[in-house]
Protein backbone atom coordinates (compact mmCIF):
# COMPACT_ATOMS: atom_id res chain seq x y z
CA UNK A 1 0.00 0.00 0.00
CA UNK A 2 1.45 3.33 -1.05
CA UNK A 3 0.28 5.91 1.47
CA UNK A 4 -0.53 9.42 0.28
CA UNK A 5 -0.06 12.23 2.79
CA UNK A 6 -1.64 15.63 2.56
CA UNK A 7 -1.37 18.68 4.79
CA UNK A 8 -4.25 20.62 6.28
CA UNK A 9 -3.65 24.28 5.80
CA UNK A 10 -3.00 25.68 9.26
CA UNK A 11 0.24 27.60 9.49
CA UNK A 12 1.63 30.62 11.27
CA UNK A 13 5.02 32.12 10.56
CA UNK A 14 6.96 35.13 11.76
CA UNK A 15 6.44 38.22 9.59
CA UNK A 16 7.59 41.81 10.02
CA UNK A 17 4.07 42.43 11.32
CA UNK A 18 4.14 39.62 13.88
CA UNK A 19 3.24 35.93 13.70
CA UNK A 20 0.69 35.55 10.91
CA UNK A 21 -0.53 33.00 8.37
CA UNK A 22 1.58 32.77 5.20
CA UNK A 23 -1.18 34.53 3.33
CA UNK A 24 0.70 37.62 4.57
CA UNK A 25 1.96 37.93 1.01
CA UNK A 26 2.86 35.83 -2.01
CA UNK A 27 6.50 35.38 -0.99
CA UNK A 28 5.48 33.94 2.36
CA UNK A 29 2.94 31.67 0.69
CA UNK A 30 5.59 30.42 -1.73
CA UNK A 31 7.94 29.67 1.17
CA UNK A 32 5.21 27.78 2.98
CA UNK A 33 4.53 25.56 -0.04
CA UNK A 34 8.25 24.90 -0.46
CA UNK A 35 8.56 23.98 3.22
CA UNK A 36 5.75 21.43 2.95
CA UNK A 37 7.22 20.18 -0.30
CA UNK A 38 10.56 19.52 1.41
CA UNK A 39 8.85 16.99 3.66
CA UNK A 40 7.26 15.14 0.77
CA UNK A 41 3.60 16.03 1.21
CA UNK A 42 1.66 15.34 -1.95
CA UNK A 43 -1.77 16.72 -1.13
CA UNK A 44 -2.98 20.07 0.17
CA UNK A 45 -6.23 20.69 2.04
CA UNK A 46 -7.43 24.21 2.62
CA UNK A 47 -10.35 26.21 3.96
CA UNK A 48 -13.14 27.61 1.83
CA UNK A 49 -12.37 31.11 3.09
CA UNK A 50 -8.81 30.99 1.75
CA UNK A 51 -9.92 30.44 -1.85
CA UNK A 52 -10.37 34.16 -2.69
CA UNK A 53 -6.96 34.90 -1.16
CA UNK A 54 -5.31 32.21 -3.28
CA UNK A 55 -7.08 33.54 -6.35
CA UNK A 56 -5.77 37.02 -5.61
CA UNK A 57 -2.19 35.92 -5.00
CA UNK A 58 -1.78 33.48 -7.85
CA UNK A 59 -4.32 34.78 -10.36
CA UNK A 60 -6.64 31.81 -9.91
CA UNK A 61 -7.04 28.83 -7.63
CA UNK A 62 -5.91 26.49 -10.44
CA UNK A 63 -2.78 28.64 -10.83
CA UNK A 64 -2.05 28.06 -7.15
CA UNK A 65 -2.54 24.36 -7.71
CA UNK A 66 -0.04 24.54 -10.57
CA UNK A 67 2.45 26.10 -8.16
CA UNK A 68 1.83 23.20 -5.80
CA UNK A 69 2.43 20.78 -8.66
CA UNK A 70 5.65 22.56 -9.60
CA UNK A 71 6.77 21.73 -6.08
CA UNK A 72 5.97 18.05 -6.09
CA UNK A 73 2.36 18.07 -4.95
CA UNK A 74 -0.27 16.11 -6.82
CA UNK A 75 -3.18 18.44 -6.19
CA UNK A 76 -5.52 20.20 -3.78
CA UNK A 77 -7.21 17.28 -2.09
CA UNK A 78 -9.81 18.75 0.23
CA UNK A 79 -11.82 21.90 0.95
CA UNK A 80 -12.96 22.49 4.51
CA UNK A 81 -16.22 24.32 5.13
CA UNK A 82 -17.84 25.02 8.48
CA UNK A 83 -20.37 26.96 10.50
CA UNK A 84 -18.93 26.59 13.99
CA UNK A 85 -20.85 29.55 15.38
CA UNK A 86 -24.59 29.31 14.81
CA UNK A 87 -26.33 32.46 13.63
CA UNK A 88 -29.77 33.36 12.37
CA UNK A 89 -28.30 33.02 8.87
CA UNK A 90 -26.54 29.67 9.17
CA UNK A 91 -27.09 26.92 11.71
CA UNK A 92 -27.12 23.32 10.52
CA UNK A 93 -29.68 22.30 13.16
CA UNK A 94 -32.13 24.98 11.97
CA UNK A 95 -33.88 23.83 8.82
CA UNK A 96 -34.77 27.39 7.80
CA UNK A 97 -31.09 28.18 7.26
CA UNK A 98 -30.39 25.22 5.01
CA UNK A 99 -31.06 27.00 1.71
CA UNK A 100 -28.42 29.57 2.61
CA UNK A 101 -25.91 26.88 3.59
CA UNK A 102 -26.55 24.96 0.40
CA UNK A 103 -26.08 28.17 -1.60
CA UNK A 104 -22.80 28.79 0.23
CA UNK A 105 -21.60 25.31 -0.64
CA UNK A 106 -22.51 25.82 -4.30
CA UNK A 107 -20.54 29.08 -4.25
CA UNK A 108 -17.51 27.27 -2.84
CA UNK A 109 -17.82 24.61 -5.52
CA UNK A 110 -17.70 27.32 -8.18
CA UNK A 111 -14.54 28.60 -6.54
CA UNK A 112 -12.69 25.37 -7.15
CA UNK A 113 -13.68 24.81 -10.75
CA UNK A 114 -10.74 23.89 -12.93
CA UNK A 115 -8.78 22.06 -10.25
CA UNK A 116 -7.23 18.68 -10.91
CA UNK A 117 -9.70 16.82 -8.75
CA UNK A 118 -10.54 17.82 -5.21
CA UNK A 119 -11.81 14.68 -3.51
CA UNK A 120 -13.25 15.79 -0.19
CA UNK A 121 -15.70 18.50 0.72
CA UNK A 122 -15.03 18.42 4.46
CA UNK A 123 -17.70 19.88 6.70
CA UNK A 124 -18.39 20.39 10.36
CA UNK A 125 -21.87 18.90 10.44
CA UNK A 126 -23.00 20.99 13.42
CA UNK A 127 -22.34 24.25 15.19
CA UNK A 128 -21.27 24.45 18.81
CA UNK A 129 -22.99 22.17 21.27
CA UNK A 130 -23.89 25.00 23.61
CA UNK A 131 -25.81 26.75 20.85
CA UNK A 132 -27.57 23.59 19.77
CA UNK A 133 -28.71 22.38 23.19
CA UNK A 134 -30.81 20.58 23.89
CA UNK A 135 -29.32 18.27 21.30
CA UNK A 136 -32.31 16.14 20.36
CA UNK A 137 -32.63 13.30 17.93
CA UNK A 138 -34.79 15.54 15.79
CA UNK A 139 -32.04 18.15 15.53
CA UNK A 140 -29.52 15.51 14.55
CA UNK A 141 -31.93 14.31 11.85
CA UNK A 142 -32.33 17.90 10.61
CA UNK A 143 -28.55 18.15 10.31
CA UNK A 144 -28.48 14.83 8.51
CA UNK A 145 -31.04 16.15 6.03
CA UNK A 146 -28.84 19.18 5.31
CA UNK A 147 -25.74 17.18 4.56
CA UNK A 148 -27.71 14.70 2.45
CA UNK A 149 -28.70 17.70 0.30
CA UNK A 150 -25.18 19.05 0.16
CA UNK A 151 -23.68 15.62 -0.46
CA UNK A 152 -25.85 15.04 -3.49
CA UNK A 153 -24.71 18.37 -4.97
CA UNK A 154 -21.00 17.99 -4.25
CA UNK A 155 -20.99 14.49 -5.70
CA UNK A 156 -22.21 15.96 -8.98
CA UNK A 157 -18.94 17.94 -8.93
CA UNK A 158 -16.87 14.89 -8.05
CA UNK A 159 -16.42 15.70 -4.34
CA UNK A 160 -17.60 13.61 -1.43
CA UNK A 161 -19.17 15.48 1.45
CA UNK A 162 -17.41 14.11 4.48
CA UNK A 163 -18.17 14.98 8.09
CA UNK A 164 -15.51 16.12 10.54
CA UNK A 165 -16.78 16.08 14.10
CA UNK A 166 -15.51 18.44 16.79
CA UNK A 167 -15.35 17.62 20.48
CA UNK A 168 -17.35 20.78 21.10
CA UNK A 169 -19.89 20.19 18.34
CA UNK A 170 -23.45 19.03 18.79
CA UNK A 171 -22.67 15.60 17.33
CA UNK A 172 -19.94 14.34 19.58
CA UNK A 173 -20.89 11.22 21.54
CA UNK A 174 -20.90 7.77 20.09
CA UNK A 175 -24.75 7.47 20.16
CA UNK A 176 -25.05 10.89 18.48
CA UNK A 177 -22.56 9.86 15.80
CA UNK A 178 -24.41 6.62 15.18
CA UNK A 179 -27.76 8.39 14.91
CA UNK A 180 -26.31 10.92 12.48
CA UNK A 181 -24.86 8.26 10.21
CA UNK A 182 -28.05 6.23 10.44
CA UNK A 183 -29.96 9.16 8.99
CA UNK A 184 -27.50 10.16 6.31
CA UNK A 185 -27.31 8.47 2.96
CA UNK A 186 -24.08 6.42 2.58
CA UNK A 187 -24.03 7.46 -1.04
CA UNK A 188 -23.93 11.18 -0.19
CA UNK A 189 -22.46 11.60 3.28
CA UNK A 190 -19.11 10.24 4.43
CA UNK A 191 -16.98 10.07 7.56
CA UNK A 192 -13.81 12.09 8.17
CA UNK A 193 -11.87 10.83 11.18
CA UNK A 194 -10.16 13.50 13.27
CA UNK A 195 -8.23 11.47 15.79
CA UNK A 196 -7.80 14.17 18.41
CA UNK A 197 -11.34 15.54 18.31
CA UNK A 198 -12.91 12.12 18.84
CA UNK A 199 -10.45 11.27 21.62
CA UNK A 200 -11.20 14.49 23.51
CA UNK A 201 -14.91 13.69 23.23
CA UNK A 202 -14.32 10.27 24.75
CA UNK A 203 -14.82 8.41 21.49
CA UNK A 204 -12.19 5.92 20.35
CA UNK A 205 -11.12 7.03 16.84
CA UNK A 206 -9.72 3.58 16.03
CA UNK A 207 -13.06 1.97 16.81
CA UNK A 208 -14.86 4.69 14.86
CA UNK A 209 -12.75 3.89 11.82
CA UNK A 210 -13.28 0.17 12.36
CA UNK A 211 -17.05 0.68 12.42
CA UNK A 212 -17.34 3.28 9.65
CA UNK A 213 -14.44 2.40 7.39
CA UNK A 214 -16.74 1.89 4.43
CA UNK A 215 -17.79 5.53 4.70
CA UNK A 216 -14.40 6.96 5.70
CA UNK A 217 -12.79 9.28 3.14
CA UNK A 218 -10.09 10.90 5.21
CA UNK A 219 -8.29 11.58 8.45
CA UNK A 220 -6.77 14.37 10.43
CA UNK A 221 -3.79 12.81 12.17
CA UNK A 222 -3.34 14.93 15.23
CA UNK A 223 -2.96 14.15 18.91
CA UNK A 224 -4.30 15.34 22.22
CA UNK A 225 -3.27 14.91 25.83
CA UNK A 226 -6.70 15.44 27.38
CA UNK A 227 -10.12 13.83 27.43
CA UNK A 228 -12.88 16.23 28.31
CA UNK A 229 -14.38 14.71 31.45
CA UNK A 230 -15.76 17.89 32.96
CA UNK A 231 -18.03 19.19 30.24
CA UNK A 232 -15.61 21.73 28.85
CA UNK A 233 -17.14 21.12 25.44
CA UNK A 234 -19.99 23.38 26.57
CA UNK A 235 -17.75 26.40 27.22
CA UNK A 236 -19.21 29.49 25.60
CA UNK A 237 -18.40 31.04 23.24
CA UNK A 238 -15.52 28.71 22.34
CA UNK A 239 -14.22 25.55 24.02
CA UNK A 240 -11.08 25.25 21.85
CA UNK A 241 -9.40 28.37 23.19
CA UNK A 242 -11.39 29.16 26.33
CA UNK A 243 -11.81 25.87 28.16
CA UNK A 244 -11.09 26.56 31.84
CA UNK A 245 -8.74 23.63 32.47
CA UNK A 246 -7.01 23.02 29.13
CA UNK A 247 -5.16 25.77 27.35
CA UNK A 248 -3.96 23.63 24.46
CA UNK A 249 -5.92 20.67 23.16
CA UNK A 250 -3.97 19.59 20.09
CA UNK A 251 -0.44 18.21 19.66
CA UNK A 252 1.65 16.64 16.90
CA UNK A 253 1.94 12.88 16.74
CA UNK A 254 4.70 11.37 18.85
CA UNK A 255 4.67 13.98 21.61
CA UNK A 256 3.18 11.83 24.34
CA UNK A 257 -0.51 12.11 23.43
CA UNK A 258 -3.40 9.73 23.88
CA UNK A 259 -4.14 8.62 20.32
CA UNK A 260 -2.89 5.16 19.36
CA UNK A 261 -1.70 6.02 15.86
CA UNK A 262 0.13 2.73 15.16
CA UNK A 263 -3.09 0.82 15.86
CA UNK A 264 -5.02 3.16 13.60
CA UNK A 265 -2.42 2.73 10.86
CA UNK A 266 -2.73 -1.03 11.11
CA UNK A 267 -6.51 -0.79 10.86
CA UNK A 268 -6.17 1.45 7.82
CA UNK A 269 -3.87 -1.04 6.10
CA UNK A 270 -6.07 -3.99 7.02
CA UNK A 271 -9.15 -2.21 5.67
CA UNK A 272 -7.62 -1.63 2.25
CA UNK A 273 -8.26 2.13 2.53
CA UNK A 274 -6.45 3.84 -0.32
CA UNK A 275 -7.42 7.47 0.16
CA UNK A 276 -5.49 10.41 1.54
CA UNK A 277 -4.05 10.60 5.02
CA UNK A 278 -3.79 14.13 6.34
CA UNK A 279 -1.57 15.78 8.92
CA UNK A 280 -3.26 18.58 10.80
CA UNK A 281 -1.87 20.93 13.42
CA UNK A 282 -4.38 23.21 14.96
CA UNK A 283 -3.12 26.00 17.21
CA UNK A 284 0.38 24.51 17.27
CA UNK A 285 1.80 27.84 18.37
CA UNK A 286 0.20 27.65 21.81
CA UNK A 287 2.82 27.16 24.50
CA UNK A 288 5.65 28.31 22.26
CA UNK A 289 5.44 25.69 19.52
CA UNK A 290 5.72 26.37 15.83
CA UNK A 291 3.85 24.94 12.89
CA UNK A 292 7.12 24.30 11.11
CA UNK A 293 8.51 22.13 13.89
CA UNK A 294 5.18 20.38 14.51
CA UNK A 295 5.00 19.48 10.83
CA UNK A 296 8.55 18.16 10.72
CA UNK A 297 7.95 16.08 13.83
CA UNK A 298 4.74 14.69 12.38
CA UNK A 299 6.53 13.69 9.21
CA UNK A 300 9.33 12.10 11.22
CA UNK A 301 6.69 10.08 13.06
CA UNK A 302 5.12 9.05 9.75
CA UNK A 303 8.46 8.02 8.23
CA UNK A 304 9.60 6.10 11.27
CA UNK A 305 6.81 4.94 13.60
CA UNK A 306 3.84 4.74 11.24
CA UNK A 307 5.94 3.27 8.44
CA UNK A 308 6.89 0.45 10.79
CA UNK A 309 3.24 -0.09 11.79
CA UNK A 310 2.36 -0.16 8.12
CA UNK A 311 5.03 -2.76 7.38
CA UNK A 312 3.81 -4.95 10.23
CA UNK A 313 0.21 -4.70 9.07
CA UNK A 314 1.11 -5.48 5.48
CA UNK A 315 3.11 -8.51 6.59
CA UNK A 316 0.09 -9.76 8.48
CA UNK A 317 -2.24 -9.54 5.47
Amino acid sequence: MATKWSYMDHWVTETPQGPLPPSFNRAYMDRYVKQLSALGFQGFDTFFFYLPMLQGMYGSVPAFEHFLQDNGFEKITGIFSAYPYATKHTAPHVRETHDRIVADCEYTLRGIEGLAGVENFIVMPSSTDWQTEPVTDDKIKIMADLWNRVGRITLEHGLKTTCHFEFWGAIRTRPQLELFFEHTDPEYVYFFCDTAQHTIAGVDPVQMFRDYKDRCTGFHFKDTKNVDTTGMYRTAPDPELMAPDVQRWFYPMGEGGLVDFPSLMKEIVASGYDGWLTVEHDKAELGGGTYAEATCLAKWYIDNVLAEAQREAEAAL
Partner: protein
Protein backbone atom coordinates in the same frame (compact mmCIF):
# COMPACT_ATOMS: atom_id res chain seq x y z
CA UNK B 1 19.95 12.84 1.35
CA UNK B 2 20.76 10.24 -1.26
CA UNK B 3 23.50 11.61 -3.46
CA UNK B 4 27.08 11.13 -4.52
CA UNK B 5 27.93 14.12 -2.31
CA UNK B 6 27.82 13.65 1.47
CA UNK B 7 25.31 16.07 3.01
CA UNK B 8 25.17 17.15 6.62
CA UNK B 9 23.38 19.93 8.54
CA UNK B 10 24.81 22.32 11.11
CA UNK B 11 22.97 21.91 14.40
CA UNK B 12 24.15 25.31 15.64
CA UNK B 13 21.14 26.92 13.96
CA UNK B 14 19.06 25.90 16.96
CA UNK B 15 21.60 27.02 19.56
CA UNK B 16 20.74 30.69 19.34
CA UNK B 17 22.04 31.73 22.72
CA UNK B 18 23.64 30.11 25.72
CA UNK B 19 20.51 29.18 27.67
CA UNK B 20 18.47 27.55 24.92
CA UNK B 21 18.73 24.17 23.19
CA UNK B 22 19.77 22.52 26.42
CA UNK B 23 17.06 19.95 27.19
CA UNK B 24 17.41 16.62 25.45
CA UNK B 25 13.84 16.61 24.16
CA UNK B 26 14.46 19.99 22.55
CA UNK B 27 17.54 18.60 20.83
CA UNK B 28 15.63 15.49 19.79
CA UNK B 29 13.01 17.68 18.12
CA UNK B 30 15.69 19.46 16.10
CA UNK B 31 17.36 16.17 15.16
CA UNK B 32 14.04 14.62 14.11
CA UNK B 33 13.35 17.73 12.06
CA UNK B 34 16.60 17.26 10.17
CA UNK B 35 15.94 13.55 9.77
CA UNK B 36 12.47 14.22 8.34
CA UNK B 37 14.06 16.69 5.93
CA UNK B 38 16.48 14.06 4.66
CA UNK B 39 19.67 14.72 6.60
CA UNK B 40 21.36 11.87 8.44
CA UNK B 41 24.52 13.59 9.74
CA UNK B 42 25.03 16.73 11.74
CA UNK B 43 27.84 19.16 12.36
CA UNK B 44 28.42 20.11 15.99
CA UNK B 45 29.67 23.51 17.12
CA UNK B 46 31.39 24.59 20.29
CA UNK B 47 30.40 27.73 22.12
CA UNK B 48 31.23 29.28 25.45
CA UNK B 49 31.47 25.92 27.15
CA UNK B 50 29.97 25.19 30.52
CA UNK B 51 26.93 23.28 31.71
CA UNK B 52 24.61 24.26 28.86
CA UNK B 53 26.82 23.13 25.95
CA UNK B 54 25.16 19.74 25.75
CA UNK B 55 26.03 19.34 22.09
CA UNK B 56 28.94 21.79 22.04
CA UNK B 57 31.96 20.85 24.09
CA UNK B 58 33.48 17.43 24.75
CA UNK B 59 33.40 17.56 28.54
CA UNK B 60 29.71 18.44 28.67
CA UNK B 61 28.76 15.97 25.95
CA UNK B 62 30.43 13.21 27.95
CA UNK B 63 28.60 14.25 31.11
CA UNK B 64 25.35 13.96 29.17
CA UNK B 65 26.01 10.83 27.15
CA UNK B 66 28.95 9.07 28.76
CA UNK B 67 30.88 8.28 25.60
CA UNK B 68 31.00 8.76 21.87
CA UNK B 69 28.80 5.71 21.53
CA UNK B 70 26.33 7.28 23.94
CA UNK B 71 26.29 10.44 21.83
CA UNK B 72 25.71 8.41 18.69
CA UNK B 73 22.90 6.46 20.38
CA UNK B 74 21.28 9.79 21.28
CA UNK B 75 21.51 10.94 17.66
CA UNK B 76 20.23 7.63 16.32
CA UNK B 77 17.09 7.85 18.45
CA UNK B 78 16.10 10.68 16.13
CA UNK B 79 17.22 8.99 12.93
CA UNK B 80 20.57 10.81 12.70
CA UNK B 81 23.32 8.29 12.09
CA UNK B 82 26.46 10.29 12.77
CA UNK B 83 28.57 13.40 13.19
CA UNK B 84 30.23 14.79 10.10
CA UNK B 85 32.33 17.46 11.73
CA UNK B 86 32.80 19.77 14.66
CA UNK B 87 33.37 23.52 14.60
CA UNK B 88 35.70 24.97 17.18
CA UNK B 89 37.00 28.48 17.73
CA UNK B 90 40.01 28.41 20.04
CA UNK B 91 39.71 32.18 20.41
CA UNK B 92 36.27 31.85 22.01
CA UNK B 93 36.84 31.91 25.77
CA UNK B 94 35.32 28.79 27.28
CA UNK B 95 34.56 27.87 30.87
CA UNK B 96 36.45 24.57 30.61
CA UNK B 97 39.67 26.38 29.78
CA UNK B 98 39.27 29.07 32.45
CA UNK B 99 37.93 31.55 29.92
CA UNK B 100 41.46 31.76 28.54
CA UNK B 101 41.70 34.30 25.75
CA UNK B 102 43.84 32.39 23.31
CA UNK B 103 45.13 33.93 20.11
CA UNK B 104 46.43 31.83 17.27
CA UNK B 105 48.63 34.71 16.14
CA UNK B 106 50.48 34.56 19.45
CA UNK B 107 53.02 31.71 19.48
CA UNK B 108 52.96 31.75 23.27
CA UNK B 109 49.36 30.52 23.16
CA UNK B 110 50.03 27.64 20.79
CA UNK B 111 50.74 24.95 23.38
CA UNK B 112 47.48 25.78 25.18
CA UNK B 113 45.53 25.71 21.92
CA UNK B 114 46.99 22.34 20.96
CA UNK B 115 46.01 20.99 24.38
CA UNK B 116 42.53 22.47 24.10
CA UNK B 117 42.11 20.82 20.69
CA UNK B 118 42.80 17.31 21.95
CA UNK B 119 39.42 16.60 23.61
CA UNK B 120 37.64 17.71 20.43
CA UNK B 121 39.85 15.53 18.26
CA UNK B 122 39.46 12.51 20.54
CA UNK B 123 35.68 12.66 20.81
CA UNK B 124 35.22 13.53 17.14
CA UNK B 125 37.38 10.57 16.14
CA UNK B 126 35.58 8.24 18.50
CA UNK B 127 32.25 9.35 17.06
CA UNK B 128 33.44 8.66 13.52
CA UNK B 129 33.61 12.34 12.54
CA UNK B 130 35.64 13.53 9.62
CA UNK B 131 36.76 17.13 10.12
CA UNK B 132 37.61 19.44 12.98
CA UNK B 133 36.58 22.80 11.53
CA UNK B 134 38.50 25.58 13.20
CA UNK B 135 38.56 29.33 13.15
CA UNK B 136 42.10 30.04 12.04
CA UNK B 137 42.43 33.39 13.78
CA UNK B 138 40.42 35.87 15.81
CA UNK B 139 38.57 38.81 14.31
CA UNK B 140 40.72 41.21 12.35
CA UNK B 141 39.53 44.29 14.23
CA UNK B 142 40.87 42.87 17.49
CA UNK B 143 44.53 42.78 16.45
CA UNK B 144 47.01 44.74 14.37
CA UNK B 145 47.07 44.23 10.61
CA UNK B 146 48.69 41.02 9.46
CA UNK B 147 52.44 41.11 9.35
CA UNK B 148 54.75 39.18 7.09
CA UNK B 149 55.17 36.40 9.61
CA UNK B 150 51.57 35.90 10.67
CA UNK B 151 50.62 33.32 8.08
CA UNK B 152 53.62 31.24 9.06
CA UNK B 153 52.86 31.53 12.77
CA UNK B 154 49.21 30.61 12.41
CA UNK B 155 49.98 27.93 9.84
CA UNK B 156 52.51 26.30 12.14
CA UNK B 157 49.91 26.04 14.90
CA UNK B 158 47.38 24.33 12.66
CA UNK B 159 50.03 21.96 11.34
CA UNK B 160 50.60 20.88 14.96
CA UNK B 161 46.88 20.37 15.53
CA UNK B 162 46.69 18.64 12.15
CA UNK B 163 49.35 16.14 13.20
CA UNK B 164 47.41 15.19 16.33
CA UNK B 165 44.17 15.00 14.41
CA UNK B 166 45.68 12.92 11.62
CA UNK B 167 46.98 10.45 14.19
CA UNK B 168 43.38 10.04 15.37
CA UNK B 169 42.05 9.79 11.82
CA UNK B 170 40.52 13.25 11.68
CA UNK B 171 41.27 16.15 9.35
CA UNK B 172 41.61 19.82 10.24
CA UNK B 173 39.85 22.40 8.09
CA UNK B 174 40.44 26.12 8.45
CA UNK B 175 37.11 27.89 8.20
CA UNK B 176 37.05 31.17 6.33
CA UNK B 177 34.76 33.69 8.00
CA UNK B 178 34.31 37.25 6.90
CA UNK B 179 35.71 38.80 10.08
CA UNK B 180 38.96 36.90 10.47
CA UNK B 181 42.16 38.57 9.25
CA UNK B 182 43.14 36.30 6.35
CA UNK B 183 40.47 38.19 4.50
CA UNK B 184 41.47 38.66 0.89
CA UNK B 185 42.08 35.82 -1.52
CA UNK B 186 45.79 36.56 -1.41
CA UNK B 187 45.84 36.48 2.40
CA UNK B 188 43.80 33.29 2.50
CA UNK B 189 46.06 31.57 0.02
CA UNK B 190 49.09 32.69 2.00
CA UNK B 191 47.68 30.96 5.06
CA UNK B 192 46.93 27.78 3.16
CA UNK B 193 50.42 27.88 1.70
CA UNK B 194 51.80 27.99 5.24
CA UNK B 195 50.09 24.71 6.12
CA UNK B 196 50.84 21.13 5.19
CA UNK B 197 48.24 19.97 2.66
CA UNK B 198 48.48 16.49 4.11
CA UNK B 199 47.34 17.78 7.50
CA UNK B 200 45.31 20.95 7.00
CA UNK B 201 42.74 22.03 4.44
CA UNK B 202 40.17 24.75 3.91
CA UNK B 203 36.56 24.77 5.09
CA UNK B 204 34.98 26.78 2.30
CA UNK B 205 31.91 28.68 3.50
CA UNK B 206 30.05 30.02 0.47
CA UNK B 207 28.32 32.91 2.23
CA UNK B 208 31.30 34.00 4.30
CA UNK B 209 33.56 33.98 1.27
CA UNK B 210 31.03 36.00 -0.70
CA UNK B 211 30.67 38.58 2.06
CA UNK B 212 34.45 38.81 2.15
CA UNK B 213 34.54 39.64 -1.54
CA UNK B 214 35.77 36.28 -2.83
CA UNK B 215 33.74 34.40 -5.44
CA UNK B 216 33.33 30.90 -3.98
CA UNK B 217 32.89 29.23 -7.36
CA UNK B 218 36.01 30.77 -8.86
CA UNK B 219 37.98 30.18 -5.67
CA UNK B 220 36.96 26.54 -5.52
CA UNK B 221 37.82 26.03 -9.19
CA UNK B 222 41.26 27.49 -8.54
CA UNK B 223 41.99 25.84 -5.21
CA UNK B 224 39.83 22.71 -5.06
CA UNK B 225 42.80 20.62 -4.09
CA UNK B 226 42.95 22.37 -0.71
CA UNK B 227 39.25 22.28 0.10
CA UNK B 228 38.52 19.57 2.65
CA UNK B 229 35.18 20.79 3.97
CA UNK B 230 32.27 22.88 2.72
CA UNK B 231 29.64 24.92 4.48
CA UNK B 232 26.79 25.95 2.24
CA UNK B 233 24.65 29.00 2.86
CA UNK B 234 23.66 32.16 1.04
CA UNK B 235 23.93 35.89 1.67
CA UNK B 236 22.41 39.01 0.18
CA UNK B 237 25.30 41.31 1.05
CA UNK B 238 29.00 41.88 0.58
CA UNK B 239 31.33 43.75 2.87
CA UNK B 240 31.34 47.23 1.39
CA UNK B 241 35.09 47.40 1.81
CA UNK B 242 36.43 47.57 5.32
CA UNK B 243 33.35 46.86 7.40
CA UNK B 244 34.99 43.80 8.90
CA UNK B 245 37.50 46.11 10.57
CA UNK B 246 34.81 48.06 12.41
CA UNK B 247 35.36 47.76 16.17
CA UNK B 248 32.98 45.13 17.53
CA UNK B 249 32.23 43.89 14.02
CA UNK B 250 30.40 40.84 15.42
CA UNK B 251 27.65 43.26 16.46
CA UNK B 252 28.34 46.48 14.60
CA UNK B 253 28.58 44.73 11.25
CA UNK B 254 26.87 41.34 11.53
CA UNK B 255 23.99 42.48 13.77
CA UNK B 256 23.45 45.86 12.17
CA UNK B 257 24.65 47.86 15.11
CA UNK B 258 26.31 50.48 12.96
CA UNK B 259 27.08 51.43 9.39
CA UNK B 260 24.55 50.08 6.94
CA UNK B 261 22.44 48.59 9.75
CA UNK B 262 22.23 45.17 8.14
CA UNK B 263 20.74 43.00 10.86
CA UNK B 264 20.83 39.68 9.03
CA UNK B 265 23.58 38.52 6.69
CA UNK B 266 22.95 34.80 6.23
CA UNK B 267 20.09 33.29 4.27
CA UNK B 268 18.69 30.01 3.10
CA UNK B 269 19.87 28.57 -0.19
CA UNK B 270 18.10 30.14 -3.12
CA UNK B 271 17.01 33.21 -1.20
CA UNK B 272 15.67 36.07 -3.28
CA UNK B 273 18.58 38.33 -4.14
CA UNK B 274 21.11 35.77 -2.94
CA UNK B 275 24.66 36.40 -4.13
CA UNK B 276 25.89 32.81 -3.99
CA UNK B 277 25.43 30.80 -7.17
CA UNK B 278 24.75 27.62 -5.23
CA UNK B 279 23.89 25.53 -8.27
CA UNK B 280 27.15 26.49 -10.00
CA UNK B 281 29.12 25.87 -6.83
CA UNK B 282 27.67 22.40 -6.28
CA UNK B 283 28.19 21.61 -9.95
CA UNK B 284 31.82 22.53 -9.48
CA UNK B 285 32.08 20.25 -6.45
CA UNK B 286 30.77 17.42 -8.58
CA UNK B 287 33.02 18.26 -11.49
CA UNK B 288 36.11 18.14 -9.31
CA UNK B 289 35.05 14.94 -7.58
CA UNK B 290 34.81 16.52 -4.14
CA UNK B 291 34.71 13.78 -1.52
CA UNK B 292 34.27 15.69 1.73
CA UNK B 293 31.18 16.73 3.62
CA UNK B 294 28.86 19.47 2.41
CA UNK B 295 27.30 20.99 5.51
CA UNK B 296 24.20 23.09 4.99
CA UNK B 297 23.99 25.92 7.49
CA UNK B 298 21.03 27.91 8.68
CA UNK B 299 22.65 29.82 11.49
CA UNK B 300 21.73 33.41 12.24
CA UNK B 301 19.07 33.12 9.60
CA UNK B 302 15.77 33.25 11.43
CA UNK B 303 13.60 30.37 12.56
CA UNK B 304 15.92 27.37 12.40
CA UNK B 305 13.22 24.88 11.43
CA UNK B 306 11.75 27.02 8.68
CA UNK B 307 15.20 27.71 7.24
CA UNK B 308 16.07 24.00 7.33
CA UNK B 309 12.87 23.22 5.44
CA UNK B 310 13.75 25.75 2.76
CA UNK B 311 17.29 24.41 2.51
CA UNK B 312 15.98 20.88 2.10
CA UNK B 313 13.58 22.13 -0.56
CA UNK B 314 16.52 23.68 -2.43
CA UNK B 315 18.53 20.48 -2.33
CA UNK B 316 15.59 18.46 -3.59
CA UNK B 317 14.02 20.80 -6.14
CA UNK B 318 17.02 22.82 -7.38
CA UNK B 319 19.93 20.42 -6.96
CA UNK B 320 18.02 17.24 -7.71
CA UNK B 321 19.04 15.46 -4.50
CA UNK B 322 16.61 12.80 -3.32
CA UNK B 323 15.34 13.24 0.25
CA UNK B 324 15.12 9.50 0.91
Amino acid sequence: MKDTLRWSYAINAWNLRMDVFVRHEEQQRALKTLSALGFDHVELASGMGGRWENLGTPEIILINHGSAEGLLAFLRRAGISGVSSWCWDPGQPAEETGYAFLMTRNPADHDAIVEAAKPFVDLLAAAGGDQLVVRPAGSAWMAPPLGDGDAGIVGSLWNRVGEIAAAAGVGVSLHYDCLQPFHTEEQLVSLLDATDPALVGLALDTAELTIGGIDPVAFYDAHHGRVTHVQLKDTRFQDAGQEYLTPGAEATMLKGGAGRRIERWFYELGTEGGLVDVEAFVASLRAHGYGGWVVVEGDKGGNATEVAMLNSWFLQRRLGVARI
